[in-house]
């Protein structure tokens, strides 16, 4: 926080707008550059969470999939806190019934 932000806060003024502009630009450019609209991103987020939750129990509330961009390179960043590991399921049989589940111990 700069001295200006502090003074603005004291006086109940809005914070200076340049930082907001930068944030909004970074977000919108991440979408522009990847050609993903928010709807598609949301759909992808749901599918990623669905796949991941077959393997580990994740916190669906905390789970976050977003686009970040730096130096004209856009990355898909998933931040999925794992509650606990699940039985490892053979992906091929994931939809059917899994035989002999193997438990793994690794946790985030």
């Amino acid at each position: 926080m700069t001295l200006r932000d502090f003074v603005n806060k004291l006086l109940g003024r809005q914070p200076a707008s340049a930082a907001t502009a930068k944030q909004r630009l970074q977000l919108v450019l991440a979408h522009d550059r990847s050609d993903l609209n928010p709807e598609l991103l949301e759909q992808m987020r749901r599918e990623i969470l669905e796949v991941v939750s077959r393997y580990v129990e994740i916190d669906l509330e905390e789970g976050d999939v977003s686009l970040e961009t730096e130096d004209r390179v856009t990355a898909l960043v998933a931040n999925l806190p794992i509650k606990r590991a699940k039985a490892v399921v053979n992906p091929a049989e994931a939809d059917g019934e899994a035989a002999d589940p193997v438990w793994t111990a690794s946790r985030a």
Partner: protein, 273 residues
């Protein structure tokens, strides 16, 4: 063939309209010509041509790019030489109806013709990313992207940079226009570093908001023509120098302001926690 180096074909583009492409082209054209570069400025904005007006050459147009392409006149007949700065010539845009048949290859042909007798060809691009833009890109090898420190202009610049990258245009350099030091100091305008970081381009120049720009367009005499020492005039001249490889330090918008208020402004930017 002569042994002079090959011509440079430089596109001046922005995406968003009205951010200062034509003003930059006119001023840069004059400044480069003054530095001894034989410079051609090509008005590729066929829909809304204005470069002739900013250069004060509107009354001397006889033929345009249209007649040159149709073969109904020679290139030399269409070129309008600047009286005061004979190293500079304008190839005017033709009738807007040209847009109906103009193809990227036509622009390539025109640019190649200009390259025979000029060192630098500056191409004033139309706004947008449609056919007019694509035609202009076809004629270019390198590009200057101009933007203002505003969200919409920066976003559109980013689009254009993506397209230039796919076309293999290189180098791509940035000019930041209409910078207001006071607003920047108050953090009510995107900082210079914010824009260069976001767009990831090297900064070729920084032009302050300057009333003299309007005065000079009224007269049809670019600021770089008569040795004006207004901030924008200096900025345009410096862009020309840097384009030719000279190292000229960039102005610091914070230092462009003097006095007590400026000092207070800098104090206010101190990080406290």
């Amino acid at each position: 063939m002569s042994d002079r180096p090959v011509a440079r074909y430089i596109l001046i583009c922005s995406g968003k309209g009205g951010v200062g492409k034509t003003t930059l082209t006119a001023n840069l054209g004059i400044a480069l010509a003054k530095q001894g570069q034989r410079t051609a400025v090509l008005d590729a904005d066929f829909g809304l041509r204005n470069l002739d007006l900013l250069l004060g050459l509107e009354n001397r147009i006889v033929y345009t790019a249209q007649e040159v392409l149709a073969g109904s006149c020679r290139l030399e007949q269409a070129l309008v030489k600047h009286k005061q700065e004979p190293n500079l010539a304008l190839l005017p845009a033709g009738n807007p109806r040209m847009l109906e048949w103009l193809k990227p290859d036509d622009m390539k042909r025109i640019a190649a013709m200009l390259g025979e007798s000029f060192d630098i060809v500056l191409i004033d691009c139309p706004a947008g990313i449609e056919d007019g833009f694509k035609n202009a890109v076809a004629a270019a090898q390198e590009a200057i992207v101009i933007t203002t420190p505003e969200v919409s202009a920066v976003r559109d610049a980013d689009r254009v940079i993506g397209l230039l990258n796919t076309e293999g245009i290189k180098p791509i350099q940035l000019v930041l226009n209409r910078v207001r030091p006071k607003m920047m100091a108050n953090q009510e305008m995107l900082a210079v570093d914010d824009v260069t970081d976001i767009l990831a381009l090297p900064l070729l120049g920084l032009v302050l908001e300057d009333e003299q720009v309007i005065v000079s367009t009224n007269r049809g005499e670019p600021l770089t023509l008569n040795g004006s020492n207004s901030p924008a005039a200096q900025a345009y001249t410096n862009v020309a120098k840097r384009l030719c490889g000279e190292e000229v330090p960039l102005i610091d918008p914070a230092k462009a302001r003097k006095g007590l208020r400026a000092k207070l402004g800098r104090l206010m930017q101190t990080k406290i926690f």
